[in-house]
C-alpha cells in the first residue's frame, strides 16, 4: 500500500487524543482498526495530514455492565464482541450481526466504534444499533456529550461527530431474553450486505410484546422499520402475523424493496423461533 504521507500519533489518554485532534486540525483523522480507513488511504480517496491512533486507549476496549444497559467501548474489536458474555446475554442481536461481518482477519482488527463512525450505509452494525435505541458517548474539546443513534447517523459516511470528537462508548439497553436474528444477503463471504435485516423480538405467552427491526443498505443510512414493529406488537407470534408485517418493510417494486420484505420476514421468523 502506498498512501500519501501522513504524521502518525499515538496518544495514551482520551484527553491527549482529543487535544491532538484539535491541534492537528480538520485534516487529521482518528484511526481505530483501520479496516475502512486504510482502504480509503490506499486508493488515495483521502489524504489526512495526521493519523491519531487510538489503539493505545485501553479504556475504550471491552464491554461493561452498567445496570440497565451495556457500555461497549468504541475500540472493542468485532472478534471481542462475538465472544463477550454480556453481549451474548443482553444484546444477542449484536453478536449475531458481528458474526456476519467480513472475515476473521478483519474481525480481529475492525472495531465496533470504527464501524459506526465510518457510517457506511452497507455497514452491518448501524441498523441494529439504531433499532436497539443505543446512545453514543462522545468526547470533544468541550467535554462529553451523548447522542442517540437516531441522531448520530446523518447521511452516507456522515455522523453527528465533529472533526475534533471521538466516540468513546456505546450505551446499549439490555434486551435480556429477546429473540434475535440478522438476515443478510451478500454474494461472496467477504462481500458487504446487499440488503440485511436486523430483528429483535420479545415474545410473552406466545404473543409479541415488543419488536425492533432495522434495515441495512436500503437508504443513505440505516433505517428503522417502525411500521413493521408497530404491526407486530400485540400479535400472536405466528407466520401469518410476521408475513403481514414484513410487507411493510418497503412499498417499492425494485429488487432491494423485495429483499427488504423477504429478509424482514425471514429475520422475524428466526428471531421468534430463537
Amino acid at each position: 500500500m502506498i498512501p500519501a504521507e501522513f504524521k502518525y500519533m499515538f496518544p495514551s489518554t482520551v484527553d491527549e487524543a482529543v487535544r491532538m485532534l484539535a491541534e492537528e486540525g480538520e485534516d487529521a483523522k482518528v484511526i481505530a482498526g483501520g479496516q475502512s480507513l486504510v482502504p480509503v488511504l490506499r486508493m488515495r480517496l483521502a489524504a489526512p495530514t495526521a493519523l491519531i491512533d487510538i489503539g493505545g486507549l485501553t479504556e475504550l476496549t471491552g464491554v461493561r455492565d452498567d445496570g440497565d444497559s451495556l457500555l461497549i467501548g468504541a475500540m472493542t474489536t468485532h472478534y471481542e464482541v462475538q465472544r463477550d458474555h454480556l453481549v451474548q446475554d443482553h444484546a444477542l442481536l449484536l453478536r449475531l450481526v458481528t458474526d456476519t461481518i467480513a472475515d476473521p482477519q478483519i474481525r480481529h482488527r475492525g472495531t465496533f466504534g470504527g464501524s459506526l463512525c465510518h457510517a457506511d450505509p452497507a455497514g452491518d452494525l448501524l441498523a441494529p444499533v439504531l433499532a436497539l435505541d443505543a446512545v453514543m458517548i462522545i468526547a470533544g474539546p468541550s467535554g462529553r456529550r451523548e447522542v442517540p443513534a437516531a441522531e448520530f447517523f446523518v447521511d452516507y459516511f456522515t455522523t453527528a461527530l465533529a472533526p475534533d470528537e471521538i466516540l468513546l462508548d456505546v450505551r446499549v439497553p439490555k434486551y435480556t431474553g429477546w429473540g434475535a436474528h440478522y438476515e443478510k444477503l451478500n454474494r461472496v463471504a467477504q462481500a458487504w450486505s446487499i440488503v440485511a435485516v436486523a430483528a429483535a423480538v420479545q415474545v410473552r405467552d406466545g404473543a409479541i410484546s415488543a419488536a425492533r427491526v432495522g434495515l441495512t443498505n436500503v437508504g443513505s443510512g440505516p433505517l428503522r422499520a417502525t411500521e413493521v414493529e408497530a404491526a407486530l406488537v400485540g400479535q400472536q407470534a405466528s407466520a401469518e402475523a410476521i408475513s403481514e408485517a414484513a410487507l411493510r418493510a418497503s412499498s417499492g417494486d425494485g429488487y432491494k424493496d423485495n429483499l427488504a420484505r423477504v429478509l424482514t420476514g425471514r429475520a422475524l421468523t428466526a428471531a421468534v423461533a430463537g
Binding site: D120, G123, R187, A189, K256
Partner: protein
C-alpha cells in the same frame, strides 16, 4: 536400499515448493532490493479514448525524491510496438501498440507518464502532480456497435474490424456443408450467448526489476514466459538477445494473465537503459485490474441442427471477439483456440466457425485459463441442453446419443483434429453414481410439485479440451510465430545429486515436485536429491514456457527423453566398468548389474566415473549430462463429466451450489494431490464465471470493477466441497500418458453451473440468464423483467465506497 522404494509417479506427494511460496520467504520479484535502485510509478489514463493535448510535468519533476518524469514523447523514438505473435490472417489489421501512449489514449488505464524516484512512495506522490489535458473522443465499447464503424478506435485503420477467421468442414474436406444440414434439418436451434469479460486476478501483482550492471540487461519479471519475453524484448528494443537475461523467479499465479509482453516490462527496461541504474516497478491491485490483460469477452451466435430423434447434424458458430484497444501477444488467436472445440465430444456431420475480431476502447484481452476452450465448451453444452429441452429428452441421454463411443477412438473430428483416446461412457457412469443422479432428479421433482421457495437444478457438462500445446507444424499452419516444442536438461553432479533444467516456467503449479518425481523414478535416485531449475534464461537457455496445460505433456516428455539419454550413456559406461557386454547390463532402482551375476555399480558410481573421466570407453565424452527437446505430433485431449446441483432461492435470486461432482480423465496421473489441486482451483474459476466475476465498465469506458471488493473472486467459504474422481485412458501422444489438467476444471464447470440454474427455473418460465448469474439477475428473470445490466445493485463493492469516484 532403493530396491524396495515405491514408485514416485502416482504418489500423492506434498509439494516441495510450498513452504517457501506460502511463507513468502522466496524470490518474489518485489522482494528484490538492488543497490541504488530507482522506483517507477505509472500514470494511467482516466479516460478511454482521447487525444493528449498537453502534458505538464514541471510540478512533478520538482517533487521530493523524483529523478525524472517521462512521457510518451520521451519514448516515441525507441519504444517501437509491443509484439503480437499471432497474425491469424493475411489481412489482419494490427495497429501500432506503443508501451506508452504518445498522442492518443485508447483505453482507460493506458500508461501516459512515468515517475522515476528514489522510493515507491515519492514516485506515487509525484504522479498526482502531473497535469494532462485530454481532448475526449467518442468511446467505442459495444462490439456490434463497433462493427458499424461510426466511431473508430483507430481512425487510421478505417474500421474497427480486426480480422475474420473461418473454418469450414466442407472446405477442409472433413465434413459436409453446414448450410445444407441446417436447410434440411428437422430441428434447428439458434441461440446467442454472452461470454462476459473476466480479469485473471492472479494473487501476486506484476512486478519487474531491471539491472544494467556489467554490460548485461537483467530483467526479473513476474511472468509465465521468460523465454518468449527475452526474445520479444530483444526484437522490440534492438538489445542483442545475448545481452539480455530474463529471470522469472517464483511467480504467484498467472492463469494466462502473465502470458504477456507487457508495456511495463518494456518501459522498465528502457528506463534502466536510460538511467544506467536498476529500476523496479510493482503494481497495485487496482492498477493490475485496470491495465493487465483481461479474458473472454465474446458474443456467440450458435446454430445447431438435428433430427427429431435427437441426432445432431450441423453446428454453425458465429463469434464476435473483443480484442480491446490493441493486439497483445496472442490476443487475436485466443478465440481461434476455441475453433476446434465447439463440436466437443459429439459427432456432427458439418461444422462452420466464423470469428470476427473487433477493436474497442477497452484494455486488451488475451489468454485466460482455458483460452478459447471454456467459451466453446460453454456454448456447446448450453446448446445440448437447449436441444434436450426442445425435444423433451433427458439431457444426459441427448449427449450419450451423440458422443464418440469409446470403441471409436482414435477419432477424426469435424474440426480436423484426431482425438487419440477417451472413454466418455466410463467418466459419465462414475459421475452419475457419485452424484446420485436419479435421487437428485427425484428430489427436484418433489420441490417442483410442492412449489418450494428453493428450487433444485441439475446441470451437466460433458467436456473435452485440447492440451499439450503444441505440435509446431500445427502452430505454423495457424500462422503462430513460434513453435510448440519443449526442452529439458539433466545435470548429473559428481556427488550423485541431480539438477533438472526445464524450459517450462512454473508459477504455482508444482512442477518442481512432479519433475522430481519423474526423475526419481527414471534414474532411481531419491526424490530429495533432485533440484529443478527454471525460469532463468541463463540456466535454462531455451524453452517455450508454461500455458495451455502443456508443461507435463510436452516438457515432462522432454525430461523423460533426457533421462533416457543419461541412462543410455550410463549403461555403456557401466558395461565398461563391469567389463561385460552392454546387452548384459540391467538397470533397476538406481543400480546397474550384470545379468546373472552379483556385480553391481550404482548410478552414482557411474556418474562419478564419468565425471573424473579417468577410464572411459574409447570416444566417450566426460560427464553424464543430457538434453532433450520434444515436439509433440498431436495435442492431448482430457475429458470428463461434471455434474452440478444448485439450490436457487426464488425469492432472493441467490444461487447456492449444493453438490458438485467432477470426474476427469486427464490421462496418467503423476501426483493425484496436485491434480486435485488443479481441478479444485479450476472449478473455482469456472464457477466464478458462472456466478460471480465480471469486468464492468461505465458508459465512458471506465472499469467499475477495479478492486477485489467489486470484482467478486470467490473464496473457499463460497464453494461447495467438491467430489472429484478420475477415469484413466492414457494419452497416446506422449510416453507419460499425460493429457494435462491445468485448465480442465475451468473449461468444464461454467456450463455445468449455468445449465443447473436454468434447469431449476425453466418450469417457472426462465429461458436464459446472463453470466454472472447474480441474485438480482436471477430474481429479475423470474419476474420476467429485462436483465438489469450495469445497474445490478448486487455487483459488489467496498461497502458504499466507489473506488473510482470517491465515496458516493
Amino acid at each position: 536400499m532403493t530396491a524396495t522404494a515405491e514408485p514416485e509417479i502416482g504418489k500423492a506427494r506434498l509439494r516441495k515448493e510450498d513452504a517457501r511460496l506460502i511463507t513468502g520467504q522466496t524470490t518474489w520479484t518485489d522482494n528484490l532490493q538492488l543497490h541504488g535502485m530507482l522506483h517507477m510509478a505509472v500514470l494511467r489514463s482516466p479516460v478511454a479514448h482521447a487525444r493528449i493535448t498537453g502534458i505538464d510535468v514541471s510540478r512533478a519533476t520538482s517533487m521530493p525524491g523524483v529523478a525524472v518524469v517521462l512521457t510518451g514523447e520521451d519514448f516515441a523514438a525507441e519504444q517501437g510496438s509491443l509484439p503480437c505473435a499471432w497474425p491469424i490472417t493475411e489481412d489482419m489489421k494490427s495497429p501500432p501498440a506503443p508501451a506508452m501512449a504518445v498522442a492518443q489514449v485508447n483505453f482507460a488505464g493506458e500508461a501516459v507518464a512515468l515517475v522515476i524516484a528514489d522510493s515507491a512512495y515519492h514516485a506515487a506522490d509525484a504522479l498526482e502532480a502531473i497535469d494532462i489535458d485530454y481532448d475526449e473522443l467518442p468511446v467505442v465499447l459495444d462490439m456490434e456497435e463497433a462493427l458499424r464503424d461510426n466511431d473508430l478506435v483507430h481512425p487510421d485503420l478505417g474500421t474497427n474490424k480486426c480480422a475474420t477467421w473461418i473454418f469450414d468442414s466442407a472446405e477442409a474436406g472433413v465434413g459436409t456443408n453446414v448450410e445444407d444440414e441446417i436447410a434440411s434439418a428437422e430441428v434447428v436451434i439458434e441461440r446467442t450467448f454472452k461470454q462476459q469479460r473476466l480479469i485473471p486476478a492472479f494473487m501476486e501483482p506484476r512486478s519487474v526489476v531491471v539491472d544494467t550492471t556489467a554490460g548485461m540487461f537483467t530483467v526479473w519479471s513476474a511472468t509465465q514466459i521468460p523465454h518468449i519475453l527475452r526474445w520479444m524484448l530483444s526484437a522490440v528494443t534492438g538489445i542483442s538477445e545475448h545481452k539480455l537475461r530474463v529471470i522469472a523467479p517464483d511467480v504467484g499465479g498467472g492463469f494466462g494473465g502473465k502470458l504477456q509482453v507487457t508495456p511495463e516490462e518494456l518501459l522498465c527496461l528502457l528506463v534502466a537503459r536510460r538511467m544506467g541504474r536498476p529500476v523496479k516497478w510493482t503494481e497495485s491491485r487496482t492498477e493490475s485490474m485496470l491495465s493487465a490483460h483481461h479474458g473472454r469477452d465474446q458474443v456467440q451466435k450458435i446454430t445447431l441442427s438435428a433430427r427429431r430423434d435427437g441426432t445432431v447434424t450441423g453446428l454453425k458458430v458465429e463469434l464476435l471477439a473483443d480484442m480491446g484497444a490493441y493486439l497483445r501477444l496472442v490476443t487475436p488467436g485466443v478465440p481461434i483456440l476455441g475453433a476446434f472445440m465447439f463440436n466437443s465430444i459429439y459427432k456432427f456431420a458439418a461444422y462452420r466457425f466464423v470469428c470476427t475480431n473487433v477493436f474497442t476502447n477497452k484494455v486488451p484481452t488475451d489468454a485466460y485459463r482455458g483460452a478459447g476452450r471454456p467459451e466453446a465448451t460453454f456454448a456447446i453444452e448450453r446448446m445440448m441442453d437447449e436441444l434436450a429441452v426442445e425435444l423433451g429428452v433427458e439431457p444426459m441421454k441427448i449427449r450419450e446419443m451423440n458422443w464418440i463411443r469409446h470403441e471409436e477412438f482414435p477419432f477424426d473430428t469435424v474440426a480436423g483434429l484426431t482425438y487419440d483416446s477417451g472413454n466418455y461412457e466410463a467418466a459419465t457412469a462414475r459421475a452419475m453414481e457419485l452424484f446420485g443422479y436419479e435421487e437428485m432428479r427425484e428430489e427436484q421433482a418433489r420441490r417442483r410439485s410442492s412449489g418450494d421457495v428453493v428450487q433444485l437444478g441439475i446441470g451437466i457438462s460433458t467436456y473435452t479440451e485440447m492440451c499439450g500445446l503444441a505440435p509446431s507444424r500445427v502452430l505454423g499452419a495457424l500462422r503462430y510465430a513460434a513453435g510448440g516444442w519443449e526442452t529439458a536438461s539433466i545435470r548429473m553432479l559428481p556427488t550423485g545429486k541431480v539438477e533438472v533444467i526445464t524450459g517450462t516456467s512454473p508459477h504455482g503449479q508444482g512442477h518442481e515436485t512432479v519433475w522430481s518425481q519423474i526423475v526419481a523414478d527414471k534414474l532411481g535416485v531419491p526424490f530429495d536429491d533432485v533440484e529443478v531449475l527454471h525460469g532463468d534464461t541463463a540456466t535454462s537457455h531455451k524453452g517455450m514456457d508454461s500455458y495451455g496445460s502443456r508443461s507435463l505433456a510436452v516438457g515432462g516428455t522432454a525430461l523423460v527423453y533426457a533421462a533416457d539419454k543419461v541412462l543410455a550413456k550410463a549403461r555403456t559406461l557401466a558395461a565398461h566398468m563391469m567389463e561385460c557386454d552392454e546387452v548384459d547390463v540391467e538397470f533397476a532402482s538406481g543400480s546397474f548389474s550384470v545379468r546373472g551375476t552379483s556385480t553391481v555399480r550404482s548410478l552414482g558410481d557411474v556418474v562419478l566415473a564419468a565425471h573424473v573421466a579417468h577410464d572411459l570407453p574409447e570416444g566417450m565424452e566426460p560427464g553424464m549430462d543430457a538434453d532433450a527437446t520434444f515436439d509433440p505430433d498431436n495435442f492431448s485431449f482430457p475429458h470428463g463429466t461434471h455434474l452440478c446441483a444448485t439450490e436457487v432461492d426464488t425469492e432472493t435470486g441467490m444461487v447456492r451450489i449444493s453438490r458438485y461432482v467432477a470426474v476427469d480423465d486427464v490421462g496418467t496421473v503423476m501426483n493425484p494431490l496436485i491434480v486435485d489441486g488443479q481441478v479444485h482451483g479450476g472449478l473455482a474459476q469456472g464457477i466464478a464465471q458462472a456466478l460471480y466475476e465480471e469486468a464492468t465498465h461505465d458508459e465512458m469506458g471506465t472499469l467499475t470493477s477495479a478492486t477485489l471488493a467489486d470484482y467478486l473472486v470467490p473464496c473457499a467459504a463460497d464453494l461447495p466441497a467438491f467430489l472429484t474422481d478420475r477415469t484413466t485412458t492414457p494419452a497416446t501422444s506422449n510416453p507419460l500418458g499425460a493429457k494435462g489438467v491445468g485448465e480442465a476444471g475451468t473449461i468444464a464447470s461454467t456450463p455445468a453451473v449455468v445449465n443447473s440454474v436454468l434447469d431449476a427455473l425453466r418450469h417457472l418460465g426462465v429461458r436464459d440468464i446472463e453470466m454472472p448469474m447474480s441474485p438480482e439477475r436471477v430474481w429479475t428473470a423470474l419476474q420476467g423483467r429485462p436483465d438489469p445490466g450495469s445497474g445490478d445493485v448486487t455487483a459488489g463493492g467496498l461497502g458504499s465506497i466507489d473506488a473510482q469516484g470517491g465515496q458516493s
